[in-house]
């Protein structure tokens, strides 16, 4: 047998005995099907309970007391009030309980920021691309809340001040960057291992001890701030306990109702017992472990806001409980998968509130509650287990827009697992995404993490990074438009086009193109613009950080982030063991390819002067279609395995990374770059002028680490090769490489073998991240024409997945157009 063929056969033979024995774990039980149907058929809404409770709190006795309290305590009291006063709801069939909002599927409204933009759509909520249903009374109420609270939101407090007004307006005309941190920080992978195994009691006792002994761990006497911090911790823990107790009461009440089957009664009583026990005490069973995670997750969602709140490495965290019950025969794999599916379905109860304007930047209705599976232990040994596979199988049962699934791949990842992950991908939901341990660990080390901590990474939300449970990463602080910096550098800091005839200077003052004598001059101007843009952005984020410390600290997040209880500091005060602020970029390939075009056209082939090229760009290539065609069709582009042009994308990435990493945040943490763009490449694209690579003004930019749509002409292996060839060690917040495969081509065993093999090769070559849609283009076109044709079609947009019907039309078009990889 041929050597390579033999090797492939060996790969295929390595099967997992367990999954051979239980091949049916991907089939949903009737219970799971019923919950899923209910969720899918529920109309989206907005839950106004949280803001209503906040208002009530302010008027309550406690609220009045809180006014004069330390900001940390004031905030903790408000959060505890919300948690303990919200209506507990338990839905039919579910095994994991705890409602995310007061409605079946809804977005929580966060008056502190994050939700205010939805008011822009108030008068046409039902007619939006993603319709939201509210009663007229609720709309009225929403308007009232909006008016009352928008000035006191974090953004309002920070920016509605003398000298900052133009930065406030930037939220409505984002061009160079889009500061997402204004909405909240959220984005966390808490220490769920600690919550599950030790319970919140550990943190509670630690806080109590510090208060009793009046010193922090290292012996330093408590400052008033630290005292308030420890008090805030105890207050929110009490709030969480009350929320859990209320759920237990409801479960017991339900169990006592007539007409409930014995089986369901037993389940409700089990849930009640679980909620009386966790998350305060250590979980005693697999189900309690998940219940514990879920309750803390709900609390974290209600504390900050809903974006990117993630669970981390559940296959590691829960394996002990799972295997103990499996071995004792108390839990069958089928039941385990069912509990896991019920847990995952809970994540579908929530959605973000984005106005249609904001939706251009973050289309897809995703909050990205991430679960990470596979990978290694601190020593680098493979720790993929039965539960890793079971988590994927449970998702195969539900195939919904949430949760986000992330698979870690390293050289000893077992083949059965990688194949199972690819099989899950073949279902067509765009999940899981794949992460290369080697590259990710290296990038985390760059940011100062120890190797052991870096190896314990989990994905936040879409693709962002944390050493789980010990990192405070404002991982989606801001999205950055890189190509516009090139535009500015070619026009002395002004945009090519603009409504203002005088063309106000917008970026840094850089030399006119007539003075740029070499390609290096262009690069320096580009660098100057990037640095300027980044500094401006950092300035605004710093203001926000200061507001957060006072008006939006997050004690629950601080409990699940190592370091805070030792230092006696909230995460927003710099309590986390690792502290990061992460920036994402859009248009990397556009910037790289454009730099290449300038270099070749102007400086190497000397076909025209730089100012002649810039004039053409200012005129958006009008009358220069031949040149534009040549740039698009005859010039090489990133993503085709051509090292010469890929080097320019590297250059663009380095200029950006260097600018980011030169800053520190006000908590003492590092700024780190990530290479992904949600759907910002569309919003930013609209504001960006023509580019030297032939892209017309207003067109979307390239997304994440992906090549420009349609210009990856050598197939998927070349895309992977180009991506893997880039040096990613500075990209601490990871990257997103989007690929699309035609379902017809990568179906079945052949497709599985092919995808498994090319992903493995990509990671062997140092690849960091890849995510793919396996889709039938025809199906998508059908869904575009008739939204009712495929109501539950899930696609991967950027770092996250969404129902196709929830996407903005131009995002839908983009997904359809993205090169259907797979020639032949």
């Amino acid at each position: 047998m041929n050597a390579s063929l033999a090797q492939a056969a060996v790969h295929q033979q390595e099967e997992n005995q367990f999954f051979k024995q239980f091949p049916s774990l991907t089939t949903p039980s009737m219970r799971i099907t019923a919950i899923r149907e209910e969720l899918l058929s529920t109309r989206y809404s907005i839950c106004l309970e949280r803001p209503t409770l906040l208002e009530k709190f302010k008027k309550s006795r406690q609220g009045r007391q809180a006014k004069s309290a330390h900001p940390l305590i004031r905030r903790a009291m408000a959060i505890a009030y919300i948690l303990s006063h919200r209506t507990p709801k338990i839905y039919d069939n579910e095994l994991i309980v705890g409602n995310m909002t007061s409605k079946r599927v809804a977005g929580n409204y966060y008056p502190e920021g994050g939700s205010i933009n939805i008011l822009e759509d108030l008068f046409r909520l039902g007619k939006r691309q993603i319709p939201i249903y509210l009663t007229p009374r609720e709309k009225f109420q929403l308007a009232g809340i909006g008016i009352k609270t928008s000035l006191t939101s974090v953004g309002g407090k920070t920016l509605l001040r003398p000298g900052r007004f133009s930065h406030f307006l930037d939220f409505f005309r984002a061009k160079r960057y889009f500061i997402t941190e204004e909405a909240g920080i959220a984005h966390q992978v808490g220490n769920y291992g600690d919550v599950v195994h030790n319970g919140l009691v550990r943190a509670d006792m630690k806080a109590k001890q510090s208060l009793d002994e009046r010193k922090i761990k290292d012996g330093t006497p408590l400052s008033p701030d630290q005292e308030s911090f420890f008090k805030s911790v105890r207050i929110v823990i009490e709030g969480i306990r009350q929320m859990a107790a209320n759920l237990a009461d409801t479960a017991e009440k339900k169990a006592g109702q007539p007409g409930i089957s014995d089986e369901r009664r037993q389940e409700l009583l089990t849930s009640a017992a679980a909620c009386r026990h966790v998350p305060y005490h250590p979980a005693r069973s697999f189900l309690e472990g998940l219940q514990s995670c879920w309750l803390v997750h709900v609390a974290m969602n209600l504390e900050d806001f809903e974006q990117g709140m993630s669970f981390g490495r559940l296959d590691q965290i829960l394996y002990f409980l799972y295997s103990r019950e499996r071995e004792s025969g108390q839990l069958s794999p089928e039941k385990g998968a069912e509990i896991m599916a019920s847990f995952q379905l809970k994540t579908c109860e929530t959605m973000p509130l984005y106005s249609e304007r904001i939706d251009q930047y973050f289309s897809g209705n995703a909050v990205a509650q991430g679960i990470t599976v596979g990978g290694t232990d601190a020593e680098g040994n493979d720790v993929t287990n039965e539960l890793s596979g079971l988590i994927l199988d449970a998702f195969a049962q539900i195939r919904t827009r949430e949760p986000a699934l992330h698979v870690r791949v390293h050289k000893n990842t077992p083949s059965w697992f990688l194949e199972k992950a690819v099989e899950t991908l073949q279902l067509g939901c765009g999940k899981p995404s794949f992460f290369g341990d080697a590259a990710v660990v290296r990038a985390l080390e760059t940011a100062g993490m120890t190797t052991e901590h870096a190896r314990d990474y989990a994905v936040i939300g879409c693709v962002e990074m944390a050493s789980q449970g010990r990192t405070y990463n404002s991982s989606d602080a801001c999205l950055f438009n890189l190509p516009i910096c090139l535009e500015l550098s070619l026009n002395e800091g002004r945009r090519f086009l603009g409504w203002n005839p005088v063309r106000r200077r917008f970026g840094a003052v850089t030399p006119p193109v007539t003075q740029m004598k070499s390609f290096d001059d262009v690069v320096s101007a580009f660098r100057a613009q990037v640095n300027d843009s980044v500094s401006e952005m950092v300035k605004v984020i710093s203001w926000l950080e200061n507001t957060y410390r006072i008006s939006r600290p997050t004690p629950i997040n601080s409990i699940v982030t190592e370091g805070c209880l030792d230092k006696g500091k909230d995460v927003t005060w710099g309590g986390g063991f690792y502290d990061l602020t992460s920036i994402q970029v859009a248009g990397l390939a556009d910037a790289g390819d454009s730099l290449y075009a300038i270099k070749k056209l102007v400086f190497e082939e000397k076909r025209m002067s730089l100012s002649a090229l810039v004039d053409i760009l200012k005129n958006n290539f009008s009358g220069q279609e031949a040149l534009r065609q040549e740039l698009v069709n005859k010039f090489p582009h990133y993503g085709n395995g051509n090292p010469e042009v890929d080097r320019m994308t590297q250059l663009a990435a380095d200029v950006y990374s260097d600018a980011i990493t030169s800053h520190k945040n006000t908590r003492g943490g590092k700024y780190v770059p990530g290479i992904y763009s949600m759907t910002c490449h569309i919003g930013f694209g609209r504001k960006t002028g023509a580019l030297p690579n032939g892209r017309l003004a207003g067109m979307r930019l390239s997304n994440g680490l992906s090549p420009i749509d349609g210009l990856d002409r050598c197939g998927p292996t070349a895309v992977l090769r180009s991506a893997a060839s880039l040096d990613s060690h500075k990209w601490t917040n990871c990257c997103a490489l989007n690929m699309k495969f035609d379902k017809k081509i990568v179906a079945g065993k052949t497709g599985r073998n092919a995808l498994t093999g090319i992903f493995r090769t990509y990671f062997d070559q140092g690849g960091m991240q890849v995510q793919a849609n396996v889709l039938d283009a025809e199906m998508l076109r059908e869904a575009r024409r008739d939204p009712s044709a495929h109501p539950s079609l899930v696609v991967r947009v950027s770092g996250y997945c969404a129902y196709f019907n929830d996407l903005q039309p131009d995002v839908q078009d983009e997904i359809i157009e993205r090169t259907a990889h797979g020639i032949g």
Partner: protein
């Protein structure tokens, strides 16, 4: 690279090298498409593979009417975009080079063995991780026996699996060494009836049957590559009971009991338009039902049927077939 040098060479012109192909042999493969084919099957979807020499094509839908080609042609052979005086044209392809939109393209470029091997090299790791390799296709690779021997040996040196897709039309008396240098031959069969073959494919099928018999013998004796037949299903032409039965019995008689059925889809004749060829005759697309019927009939004759890319390669005993082949 001698690619621009038009006058020379027994080296073949290659009109495309495609990567990540999953349907032409095991694993992830790259296909090298050679230019030149002895047959002219009326349903052919790759008319650019017919002629041996590189040739110019015009994709009207991409043309932006910039007239660069008109001005660039040293022979003044182009009067207007898309209108080339074949008499005047010196096949220099300056127009192609200068056309900004990709409307003018040249199918075929001369390659050396080393050029092809280098173009394939970046794909080697994907082959390794998927049990894939390189497939020579066309056109008809057997038109270039010494080249493909060289290339196959070159690839074998690096441990790469090689396959060849052939229409089977070559002189059966020819030296068979170039065949033994392959790991796998995908052998395309079309019409069993000789006059019908002559009519639809332009040549008799006598050579084809002889070669298939001979290759099967070599495969089973362990002196040749593994062999796997493929049959394109053209409604009412190749999917008739008569044709299918004919081939089934023939395959059975030479000991082959597996076959890939390649369903015909009418993808539109735009390539012929680009090459200024008369449009292809219209065949109706193959329905799933007809495909099912054909498979059923063949299965009744003991032939297992497969879709392209879904073959069960274990059906062929790779060990005996390649046991005496040196693969380093």
């Amino acid at each position: 690279m001698e690619s621009g040098d038009m006058g020379h060479s027994k080296d073949p012109a290659v009109f495309s090298i495609q990567h990540f192909c999953l349907h032409d042999g095991p694993g992830v493969r790259s296909i090298v498409f050679f230019k030149g084919c002895p047959l002219r099957c009326s349903w052919c979807q790759n008319p650019e593979s017919w002629r041996t020499a590189p040739e110019l094509a015009f994709k009207a839908h991409l043309c932006i009417d910039c007239k660069t080609c008109v001005n660039a042609c040293p022979q003044q052979a182009i009067s207007a975009p898309g209108h080339r005086d074949l008499q005047k044209c010196g096949q220099c392809f300056t127009c192609v080079e200068n056309c900004p939109s990709g409307a003018l393209v040249c199918f075929g470029k001369y390659y050396t063995v080393e050029d092809v091997a280098e173009a394939l090299r970046p794909e080697f790791p994907y082959f390794e991780n998927t049990g894939g390799g390189v497939t020579f296709s066309g056109g008809e690779p057997t038109l270039f026996p010494s080249f493909i021997t060289g290339l196959s040996n070159r690839l074998h040196k690096e441990g790469i699996h090689t396959a060849m897709e052939t229409c089977g039309y070559f002189d059966p008396e020819t030296d068979t060494r170039f065949l033994s240098d392959m790991d796998l031959v995908l052998f395309d069969i079309k019409l069993f009836d000789e006059p019908a073959h002559l009519r639809f494919c332009g040549k008799s099928n006598t050579y084809i049957k002889k070669n298939l018999t001979r290759l099967a013998g070599m495969a089973f004796a362990g002196t040749g590559p593994d062999i796997w037949p493929r049959l394109p299903l053209i409604p009412s032409i190749t999917d008739t009971t008569e044709n299918l039965t004919g081939w089934a019995q023939f395959l059975d008689s030479i000991g082959i009991h597996y076959l890939t059925l390649v369903p015909y889809h009418n993808l539109g004749g735009s390539k012929r338009q680009w090459l200024n060829l008369p449009p292809a005759p219209e065949f109706s697309a193959l329905t799933d039902e007809r495909l099912g019927d054909a498979a059923k009939l063949l299965e009744q004759h003991g032939i297992s049927c497969f879709a392209p890319g879904e073959e069960d390669w274990v059906q062929i005993d790779f060990k005996t077939a390649s046991g005496n082949r040196k693969v380093t």
